[in-house]
Amino acid sequence: MIWKLSLTGIKNRFKDYLVLFSGLVVASMIFYMFLTIAINPSFISKDIQAPTDYLNFIFAFGIVLLIIISSVYLTYANSFLLNMRKHDYGMFMMLGAKSTRIGLLIFCETLVTGTLAMALGILLGFGLTALVSRLLIAKLHLTISHFQVILPAAILWTVIFFIVMFFLEALKNVHKLTRTPVIDLLHENQKPFKYRQHTGLRAIEALLGLVLLATGYYIMSLPGAMILFIIPAALITIVAGSYFTFNAFFSAIINFLIKKKSFSYHGIRIFTLGQLKFRLHDYTRMLTVISLLFALALGAITVGLNFNTLKDQVEENIYYDTTLVSTSPTVKKEVARLAIKSRQTYHYKENKAHLYFKRGEFTNKPVKNVRFFLKNGNPTYHLETLPIKKLDRPGTNANNAFGALVPNGTAKIIRLVSNAKWQKLKGQNKFVTFLKVENFKRDYPTLLLIQKQQLKENPAYDNLYSASKPSSYQFISSFSSGFEFMGFFLGFAFLTMLASTLMFKVLSGTSSDKARYKMLYQMGTQVGVLHTSIRQEIGTLFLLPAILGVIDVLFGLKLFRIFLPHPYNKIWIPFLIFLVLYLFYYYLTVKLYEKIVLDYEKNN
């Protein structure tokens, strides 16, 4: 009988259950999706092609972060379940049901709900992973071949994590339900909330929050070599800082606005501020998680997209587009297809130990080079004209740079001689031509072909082409594809989790909010004013973590200076993409919320 009653209770609150269930499904889906990347060794080693130790550390760290976020999320979802059921179970106990029976009931309900949601989450995870990966690979023209949609290890770890979590949560529910007096269970919803706090303590907390955030941001700007210290230290300071900031600093601002009567006594502003004050108190933990998720999502997309620009940077970092050393018909034919912007040819004679160039040829067309150096620990590039005097002076930058551009230039000694002297020298007559084309990206396939053909004709010139612009471009393209894919994938995964967390939390408060809005409506508030209030209130809840999230990202990007020379390059693009998606979630939340809390207006 009691099982039947319990099921009827679920049926009656189907909508709330749907919110809870979908939240849990999203959590397990994201968890699975992340694991498909993080514990897929062939994807990491073959598609990403980055130092494995470093990546393993990044992913291990990511998994820890995801576990923390998912745990907070599940704890919250569980408290929502418990609050939803307290009244029903209190009633059953009042009617004479034994507390052990009720304990068993809530235990099973938590575990069954969780397990079902997890199973569905993993199934949807397959679909979504397939969809997202296919979409990203197609849209971004990536070369990903080792990504697996169904990864048994990821399934196993997702199942283990969620079963353990739900088991613990179920035990917690049993403990809470069987220890709480029946009368409290029945009247739980009517319990007043208290958010009075000592002003002095709050001021200290607000200050501490800002100091911790500033410390976290400072830590992230430390030299990249300290990465093993930076990540955990920044995580601790920023998480704690965000928590205190939400708990005290933003609340202090709201309190200040409430006290400023000329501002708050205007329309229903005082109510909106009151709602926000209440929410900030209730949402502190949630907003902290959201700001982190926001930073992770935006950060992942920004970094992902920045990897895309990495190959563009190759264009700037290497001056000449290709080097010609052959006059074979095949090479000539391919060269004819290029739209050439500039051509510099240098003739030389090669013997056993030397390469003799005509000095005069350099006077007319000096050699250019993009010089790489570290400035304050950051990679920096500078375009320079190699001084002719130093081209044949061993050990100089000019000599090294030029040597790298010509065949056998590093193995033999370079000499620059006068025209007259050159004529008298013995050795093979050779030439080297440096080309710049009008549009590197357009001619890139042809440039690769030319390079390949010349290499076929002269296999000994391997060194000349291994670091050429087309080769670097090709290498960086495949390397960055993996990161770009990962960035976008994780970005969307975090964004989905963030949005569902915020939406879930906002929507779970609708039962008490409904009465408040109805009250305002009865008092004569126009429906349009209520809509505005809702938009402002939910807008603030979306905006505050977004502000912290954006600041987190702006500082956090410094961490990526190790592989990205310009992490802030074209930063507006990912920010814009993210803004559009975030606004979409905001709009969706507002609409769903309005539909629930303002449903009485349909009657009129």
């Binding site: 208290k194 409430i258 205007h266 008092m523 126009q526």
Partner: protein, 249 residues
Amino acid sequence: MGEILRVDQATKTYGKQGEKQYQALKGINFALEEGEFVAVMGASGSGKTTLLNLLATLDKPTSGHIFINHQDNSALNANQLADFRSRQIGFIFQDFNLLENLTNRENIASPLSLRGVPSRRIDPLVEQIATRLGIKQILPKYPAEVSGGQKQRVAAARALVHEPAILLADEPTGALDSTSAQELLDTLADLNQNDGITTLMVTHDPYAASFASRILFIKDGKIGEQLLKSGLARQQFYHLLIDHLGNGE
């Protein structure tokens, strides 16, 4: 004194045409003079709440008209109705309906800020009504921090601070202990007698109804008869009412 409220042949039918319909109000007619204190009594399901919703402009009559301050509110659109409510009507509910995320002061101030009263004028008005109702000392507190009786006084202050044409009270003593109920009813009667606040109170409690000067009985969606205080002391009126109810009227 002029007429402040007139209900003219008001009916309310629930359910769409062609479906099963239920007529909650079957042609209600009555009027309230300015400064009157009227109680509407009736059993559960008699149509009390439906009538109150119509008077409060929260719902519209299926047919007939309701005039408050000579204005026919059936002709107003949703926004005009909202403005109308914010100016002409004050509410007190059984379960207080205070906004628990606002302090008592902010709760009382809300109808004024809603009406666009300049902020500097709001606090003096709030304090004036709070003093009148004896709740000045609890203004900085939150509703959750005060007793049920005090909550209902805060609700009354909120209902009256903007000087509405009529105060509508829906079972205002329903959630109060006897002492708090007595105090609230004394306050309502005092406000009516000394400040001329026109009050319409819906109740099923004869004791509460005995504070009114006129009692309308509603039964099966119709106003039956009415009982007038006509100079009787409250206790006498109460006994008369008990006798009336005891006779099965």
